[in-house]
């Protein structure tokens, strides 16, 4: 039974997706999609208690690794599996057929199928222990993302999706080429096997070139500086539940892949960590500065994501157990906060759309305010816990520049967070302000807000630090 749990989070959405298309009913499609995400979330939550027992693996078709494909769930990817599935669940609850109204002309089931396949692809990247499988799942999730982004309400959505397709496919192709180099250098695709053979390969340069190509591909997909330009355009173009889902977990999965492949499998060590630290710190400042000057609401939050994702990469670049703990907290904290913010904003896309929200929709206003507080890092919220863990980890490692950069970007965060709150609280409602949807739309951001406080008040996310550091070999 417990063996099935290892593959359920990936397989369930993959198997339900064709069923959704088959049934062809939008109501049933939505229900099935929510149900699949719910069960996948519960399955990945059920994997957590045994986290301390070390990695568990599932052999597909009963072929032993390194010949067959195996899934390996350890302390680093199991918590992220939960994050991915939970954010998909919340986004799917929000994406009712009524929310999508009119965008698809009867093709809503395809939207839900794409959503589920995207989820399955992201979970697959996390779970698989096979380098080529990473490429396949990356492309599954990417292809679905292009379709989902193109479903956005703006006339330019298709163009944004196309530009993302070009960049994303280049990134994916670099990953494919990198895997090819690794295959040439070692003759294997299994990650555990690669980790043993890469350092002692007689074709060291080939292996290194492969690692660089892989890093390049995933740096693109994770919107790491300086390859972040696609992110604001995509977040602005996509339908809002999709933006919430992508913001909560998609780029984080790519960061996971970067860390797993560079620091664990290829064991590039010092050099890769130095590079991670550099692009993370520049990205943190660059993203925060860009967020301050955006005129579009969603683009501002997207640039803030670039900055916040930099925190995760910086935390990993410290190379200590405390750093990994900070990264795990930031994974969950940013997932809950940014995902929740996009869910609470709903279809609002400009600052004017938020004018007078305090009077129009007090509940939504309250959640937006609380989530923005979290983004700021106000005590009691997950944002504070994440920043505190990151600052103490940086101090522990004696990384003075990092300490300064994180504090400076937190000050910049005050600027863009106030820009978000100003129309909500201070401006009078405009007469023709768009009516934001209600009812079911309140539940997902409310859950995200609750999660944010739960993460801030309990050491739950921090408890993943140790198993994750063990998985990377940075803790006994």
């Amino acid at each position: 039974m417990s063996e099935i749990l290892l593959i359920a989070p990936v397989l369930l959405p993959l198997l339900i997706a064709p069923l959704v298309v088959m049934l062809g009913s939008q109501r049933a499609g939505w229900l099935l999609a929510v149900l699949a995400a719910l069960v996948a979330t519960l399955a990945s939550a059920a994997l957590l208690p045994a986290l301390g027992e070390g990695p568990r693996s599932y052999h597909f078709g009963n072929w032993p690794p390194p010949f067959g494909i195996e899934y390996v769930l350890d302390g680093l990817n199991t918590p992220l599996l939960l994050l991915t599935n939970a954010s998909a669940l919340l986004a799917l609850i929000a994406a009712t057929p009524a929310t999508l109204a009119g965008r698809f002309a009867g093709r809503e089931p395809v939207f839900y199928a794409l959503f589920l396949l995207c989820l399955s692809g992201l979970s697959g990247i996390l779970a698989t222990g096979d380098a080529f499988n990473v490429f396949v799942f990356l492309e599954i999730s990417s292809l679905c993302t292009y379709g989902l982004v193109a479903a956005g309400p703006r006339p330019g959505s298709a163009l944004a999706a196309f530009q993302y397709l070009i960049l994303g496919t280049l990134g994916g192709s670099f990953v494919l080429l990198g895997v090819g180099f690794w295959l040439q250098a070692t003759g294997t695709l299994n990650m555990a096997d690669l980790a043993q053979r890469l350092p002692q390969s007689e074709y060291g340069e080939v292996a290194l070139a492969g690692s660089v190509l892989l890093l390049l591909g995933f740096a693109l997909k994770s919107a790491s500086f300086p390859l972040q330009q696609w992110l604001p355009a995509v977040y602005a173009a996509a339908p809002w539940p999709v933006t919430a889902f992508l913001a909560a977990c998609a780029t984080k999965v790519a960061i996971y892949a970067m860390v797993r492949l560079a620091l664990d499998v290829a064991a590039l060590g010092e050099a890769a960590r130095w590079l991670f630290g550099l692009i993370a710190l520049v990205g943190i400042v660059w993203g925060a500065l860009a967020a301050c000057v955006q005129r579009d609401l969603r683009r501002m939050l997207a640039w803030s994501s670039v900055s916040q994702l930099g925190y995760i990469l910086f935390a990993f670049s410290l190379g200590t157990a405390a750093g990994v703990t900070a990264a795990m907290i930031q994974f969950f904290s940013h997932g809950a906060i940014k995902g929740g913010l996009f869910l609470a904003l709903g279809p609002a896309r400009s600052f004017d759309d938020l004018a007078g929200l305090r009077e129009r929709e007090p509940w939504r206003c309250a959640m937006l305010t609380l989530l923005t507080m979290g983004l700021l890092g106000v005590p009691l919220t997950a944002g504070f816990a994440a920043k505190w863990a990151l600052l103490s980890a940086a101090a522990q490692a004696g990384h003075g520049i990092g300490l300064g950069v994180v504090i400076f970007s937190s000050l910049l965060a005050v600027v863009y967070c106030l820009r978000l709150l100003e129309p909500v609280w201070l401006r009078a409602p405009q007469r023709d302000a768009p009516q934001l949807p209600r009812h079911a739309m309140l539940l997902p951001p409310a859950l995200a807000t609750l999660a944010m406080f739960a993460l801030g008040l309990t050491p739950w996310a921090a408890s993943f630090g140790r198993p994750a550091a063990q998985a990377l070999g940075w803790a006994p």
Partner: protein
């Protein structure tokens, strides 16, 4: 001889790769960009296939008269990657159709201007 041939082969394949990449970057037409992207991917497929080739070896089919086979794994991997490439091309072309319908052009700068204007 074989080393020289394989070096030449890699050089030509690299040329194909950067030609595709150049088209993606330099072309303004969305369809031409997609063609460049396909060329880029094909270069990677060819690279993979070259990995499995052994010079005296034949196809990886059990035959009594041969004992050395080309490595079949890269072929299987590339079959998957080709399917991914076709799917990408199809999605890309579908998006170009939508761009043409909604923004009235398949030239990237014109479509972008139209997008800004709205």
């Amino acid at each position: 001889m074989t080393l020289w041939a394989s070096q030449l082969f890699y050089a030509l394949d690299g040329l194909l790769l950067v030609t595709g990449l150049y088209l993606v970057i330099a072309q303004d037409n969305l369809v031409k960009k997609l063609l460049g992207l396909s060329l880029f991917q094909v270069a990677i497929f060819v690279f993979y296939l070259s990995l499995g080739k052994l010079f005296p070896g034949g196809a990886a089919v059990l035959l009594p008269e041969q004992s050395i086979y080309s490595h079949p794994l890269p072929h299987v991997l590339i079959l998957t990657a080709i399917v991914v490439g076709i799917a990408t091309l199809a999605v890309g072309l579908a998006l170009v159709v939508r761009v043409q319908e909604e923004l009235g052009s398949t030239e990237e700068d014109e479509a972008r201007l139209e997008d800004r204007r709205r």
